[in-house]
């Protein structure tokens, strides 16, 4: 049994926002979850950023279930980017990041974004003086 942590962004079309989808993920697929972020606007799609873990077979079936329903599933890492052509590598984002996902390399003094540690809190976004951190949920 292989347990892996998956950080994913789910986007729900309007017709699905009132359905208990996360409940099914737990009950039918035996996944544990941590909601990192979520919002639903009445006229638009719903968005949920989840940290899921469970057996990899169950996880894959769950993703298929979601996609069949019409929910888009993307890894979180695709939705938060540090724009290389804007970043000055100052490091103003580093101390504000609660998980150590943003780190300055000790020898090159350049910024590294460890996407696997990012929890999408977005505290770094307003802390960046050149607004190099792009969020595309």
């Amino acid at each position: 049994m292989k347990h892996k942590l998956h950080r994913i962004v789910l986007k729900f079309p309007q017709r699905l926002v009132n359905q208990p989808i996360v409940y099914r993920l737990i009950k039918d697929y035996d996944l544990t979850f941590n909601i990192l972020k979520g919002y639903v606007t009445p006229d638009e799609e719903g968005l949920l950023v989840l940290e899921l873990s469970g057996d990899s077979k169950d996880y894959n079936s769950a993703v298929k279930y979601l996609q069949d329903l019409g929910v888009s599933v993307d890894p979180l890492s695709q939705d938060i980017q540090v724009e290389e052509n804007k970043c000055t590598h100052c490091g103003a984002c580093v101390a504000i990041c609660p998980t150590g996902a943003l780190e300055l390399d000790q020898s090159t003094r350049k910024l590294h974004f460890h996407k696997d540690k990012c929890i999408a809190c977005l505290l770094c976004v307003p802390a960046c003086p050149v607004r190099a951190i792009e969020v595309d949920f």
Partner: protein, 402 residues
């Protein structure tokens, strides 16, 4: 043994000069000693790339037909108000200027996504900016309205003129209160949640010549990717602060006023910046070459991050209330390693000034000198040092009662 700047320039033109960065100089002096290093090395290049609030540009846009006297009227560059208290077609824009309709901090903390610093960067990069102006009209200058695109290639002069840049040392900002605060030193989390600093430390120009022995009025420098000059001590130049055994100021001290032709600068080294809850700014790249005229200069240019202390200041109360007192001192080696101890607590430290870019600037300036594209200048006048006794003062406020 003492070298003159003329001798160093002769060596540069003959391709015989030895030029190293302030980082490289550390190991040279460590392994060979200052005396030998002074004989072997001719120039040490420095660099810094950080937000420098007191920056701006002046333009002469050329006369309109019919003529218009913008002086005394109003003008905007991309909706950001520029100063129009000069002659007919000279205007000045500062980095902190904001569009009239920017909400500021009405919705706290404001985002300050666009201001003077961004206009300066875009204009340097060759982007068209929109100039709108209105004036009252005179016999010789009848025109009253203007709305035009403006490009750096079309104006007579585009001059970067920054009254205060390149601070010799700076505060480390922390927040002792119980709520997040938004400052020019970045976002500071409550209860000493983080510590922000802003200096290139061992690479920073004025920390490599702490008593301004070689840096002065007329010094040719790297400015915004092009060539610029030091024209005056910067505002709030404060050389008489306390210094450590090596002569390094233990807090903000010397500053520089710099000038240069923007037409030969590069937007990559002049970047608009937004400080949430505070305002806009310009990140300026500066590199100063330091001639190693003697053993003492070799020793000064070998300064390391461990040698430089900075005061930890509470920005929730002490700074805004102009109170006295610091929470301690830390050095730049500790800051760069990522955490510092303040009041017994280990807290994460972050920089607002890019060390990676400071290093690039020092290397770029080194290559200019190696290619003989850049010669050193003899300062016309030295900057005031501690012996001048200059001390900056707070405003002597005398409230007007009517």
């Amino acid at each position: 043994m003492r070298k003159t700047i003329t001798e160093i320039n002769e060596k540069i033109t003959k391709g015989k000069a030895v030029i190293v960065t302030a980082e490289e100089m550390i190991d040279i002096v460590r392994s060979r000693g200052a005396k030998k290093a002074a004989m072997e090395v001719d120039v040490v290049t420095t660099g810094t790339f950080g937000p420098m609030c007191s920056s701006g540009m002046y333009l002469n846009i050329g006369h309109t037909k019919p003529r218009m006297k913008i002086g005394g009227g109003h003008c905007y560059l991309n909706d950001v108000p520029a100063y129009s208290g000069l002659a007919a077609v000279d205007i000045y824009l500062g980095a902190a200027a904001l569009p009239d309709n920017d909400p500021r901090n009405m919705v706290y903390p404001g985002s300050f996504s666009y201001g003077g610093g961004h206009v300066i960067s875009e204009f340097t990069g060759g982007r068209d900016i929109r100039l709108t102006a209105s004036a009252y009209g005179t016999d010789g200058y009848p025109r009253k309205k203007l709305d035009t695109w403006l490009n750096i290639n079309d104006v007579n002069e585009a001059t970067l003129f920054n009254p205060r840049n390149c601070c010799q040392n700076y505060n480390v900002a922390v927040n002792q209160s119980d709520k997040t605060i938004y400052t020019y030193m970045g976002i500071l989390k409550p209860s000493l949640g983080n510590a922000n600093y802003c200096s290139a430390g061992q690479l920073s120009p004025l920390l490599n010549d702490p008593f301004y022995r070689t840096i002065g009025i007329g010094t040719r420098i790297f400015l915004g990717g092009g060539i610029g000059y030091i024209v005056w001590p910067g505002t709030q130049h404060n050389p008489s602060v306390s210094r450590n055994k090596k002569g390094i100021p233990k807090e903000g001290a010397g500053t520089l006023a710099v000038i240069g032709d923007m037409k030969q600068m590069d937007a990559a080294w002049l970047r608009g910046a937004s400080f949430t809850g505070y305002g806009t700014n310009l990140i300026v790249g500066i590199g100063v070459p330091i001639p190693v005229i003697d053993e003492e200069m070799a020793q000064f240019t070998a300064v390391t991050d461990e040698d430089i202390q900075a005061p930890v200041v509470d920005y929730s109360r002490v700074y805004p209330e102009l109170e006295k007192g610091i929470l301690g001192e830390v050095n730049y080696a500790q800051l760069k390693q990522g955490t510092v101890k303040v009041k017994g607590k280990q807290i994460p430290a972050a920089s607002l000034s890019s060390y990676a870019k400071a290093r690039e600037i020092a290397l770029e300036l080194k290559s200019w000198i190696q290619k003989k594209e850049f010669l050193l200048t003899e300062p016309a006048v030295s900057l005031p040092g501690p012996e001048n006794g200059i001390k900056i003062r707070p405003l002597k406020e005398r409230p007007v009662k009517e």
